[in-house]
Symmetry: C2
Subunit: 342 residues, 2 copies
């Protein structure tokens, strides 16, 4: 049994996530230098609503979508109840901020972030994470993104990143392609202060094994609130330096075409495997906000194969597989030898 959330818990998390949307949008506008977010407020007929912000045709971002929502209802859907049976029969509340950025320049990675919080009767939980999807391979970008999220997790508890990193690799996986979506980051869900930090579906997986070794982790509501705050605030420092480094890199039509081709994988993941997207679409969510994650332009090419020893091949071989980006010195050497270190 988990402890009750503190007084005004809903307002506290809501404020955190509204501020996160605000800060990220400000940071992205500054980074872009031209594009401005257009805001749209919407109401959900069954309860609650949201604030969608989209920036289109910027200098850096072809499309950037940052959504905040706060919704409530009488009964959670079966897919969530099966994971959280104690929530059955109770009214629920959910708030979240989610973001997907599609940069124009193929040398800048696409990135996704989502932090969310639920309350339903006697239970509450936090979930979230952020993950990076490069089109052209740079070891240092992957390492930097992971390092910042590692630090954000560590500030709360040194055991968390060990589980949330492989959980991210496990979640953002395209089984039909045998590929990860990108180089990962962190992912966690159903964090309810019970001490068991892995609550994923893969009982043979790395994240599960490591969480078993670690055992119980004493995390209260305040810790999990801090985790969302730290990780949310880590996003700009994790991503912005990568953008600044790559934004003026010239690119060819072929490099743009490869980016559009890889964006097709992003579409495939979101529509075939992402539980949040599928759940939203099949249960009358706000389609335009849910599908804001899809790229402004994507390409499919039957039987595409990257040229041997090209950066496109290195991307597919090395940057769509789970890797220990922070500590793997052999991987670092391999990337150095292949001129994709930095």
């Amino acid at each position: 049994m988990t402890k009750e959330p503190p007084h005004k818990s809903r307002e506290k998390v809501k404020t955190l996530l509204v501020d996160l949307q605000e800060n990220i949008c400000n940071g992205l506008e500054e980074l872009d230098g031209k594009g401005k977010f257009i805001e749209e407020e919407w109401m959900r007929p069954e309860g609650g609503g949201g604030r969608s912000r989209v920036l289109k045709d910027g200098l850096v971002f072809e499309q950037a979508g940052v959504n905040f929502s706060e919704v409530y209802g009488k009964q959670l859907p079966e897919s969530i109840i099966s994971q959280r049976p104690e929530a059955k029969g109770h009214e629920w509340f959910a708030t979240g901020t989610s973001m997907v950025l599609h940069p124009k320049n193929p040398f800048i990675p696409t990135v996704h972030l989502n932090y969310r919080y639920f309350e339903a009767g006697p239970v509450w939980w936090f979930g979230g994470g952020a993950d990076l999807t490069p089109f052209y391979p740079y070891f240092s970008d992957s390492q930097h993104f992971h390092q910042k999220h590692f630090e954000a997790c560590n500030a709360v508890n040194v055991d968390l990143h060990k589980v949330f990193k492989p959980w991210c690799d496990e979640y953002f996986y395209l089984k039909h392609r045998g590929e990860s979506r990108g180089i990962g980051g962190i992912f966690y869900d159903y964090q309810d202060g019970s001490g068991n930090i892995y609550k994923g579906n893969n009982k043979d997986g790395n994240a599960y094994e490591i969480s078993k070794e670690i055992g119980k982790v004493d995390l209260g509501w305040e810790n999990l609130y801090s985790l969302a705050k730290n990780c949310g605030n880590a996003f700009l420092p994790a991503y912005e330096p990568i953008v600044r480094k790559r934004m003026n890199h010239p690119y060819t039509n072929d490099e743009r075409a490869f980016q559009l081709y890889r964006r097709g994988r992003y579409v495939e993941f979101n529509l075939v495997w992402d539980r949040g997207t599928i759940f939203g679409l099949q249960t009358n969510g706000r389609t335009e906000s849910i599908l804001m994650s899809l790229p402004p332009l994507a390409r499919w090419e039957y039987g595409y194969k990257a040229k041997a020893n090209s950066r496109e091949e290195l991307l597919t071989k090395i940057f769509t597989k789970p890797q220990d980006w922070i500590n793997d010195k052999e991987l670092e050497d391999y990337c150095r030898q292949n001129n994709i270190l930095d």
Copy 2:
């Protein structure tokens, strides 16, 4: 209990569907005038294989994919067993030809076709259909496509089209958009000669209601074979005149952009709702062949709305809703008044 299939049933259907692939590819190459199909044969590790043919960058077709496959195995997946419980525990055989065409010119509609046949222990069944997805609205194109499939069904039994037409509208429906994929055509499945021609999931739907009124339809294996043959052979006469009429229509960048935007809907349908695609991807099918249906280029645009009274608005209002294209004189008048008759 259905009757046993005739001697050499598998070979008969296989020959039909191989010939269908051959005839369609020949017809499309002639129509295109430049593009040639590239063929790839593949084996399925668990049994069987196929022959994929793709034409890329033609004059008319940006991409055309026509697949034939013949596969077998020890046990059908649960999703099919739940529909056909008699097949449980039996070895199965399946053969099919499927096709998706993505023309370059936005005035030519995209089109899909699939005909297939299964045997599993004591049961066998036929399924299939064809449906058209225009980007710019022309009443006469929709009517012509439906008329040819109406005639092909009628040559076997006059009751079939009444059910297979609404079944198609029901199947190719994007619930999260409140839109049909296009203007439909025909769709049928699980035709096993038992007399019940509707075996869909929608017990409140039009197709179900009409099939109840009709009652049992006496269709043997030979009739269903003829149905697949007639409908398959109806494809070129149903589609070719439309292509010839529209292929030299000049188009603007905006019209091309609208086509790419609507192709996004095609991707959404195939990845979110199409049972065949999802089933294939989740059960280790040949990904490249399954996803040959996806367009070479597609676009998403947050919050897009067509201009009032534009052809783009007419497409969305009239051509993504089920309509009686053959008989509805009011619809025909409405299209005439709006200059989208022909």
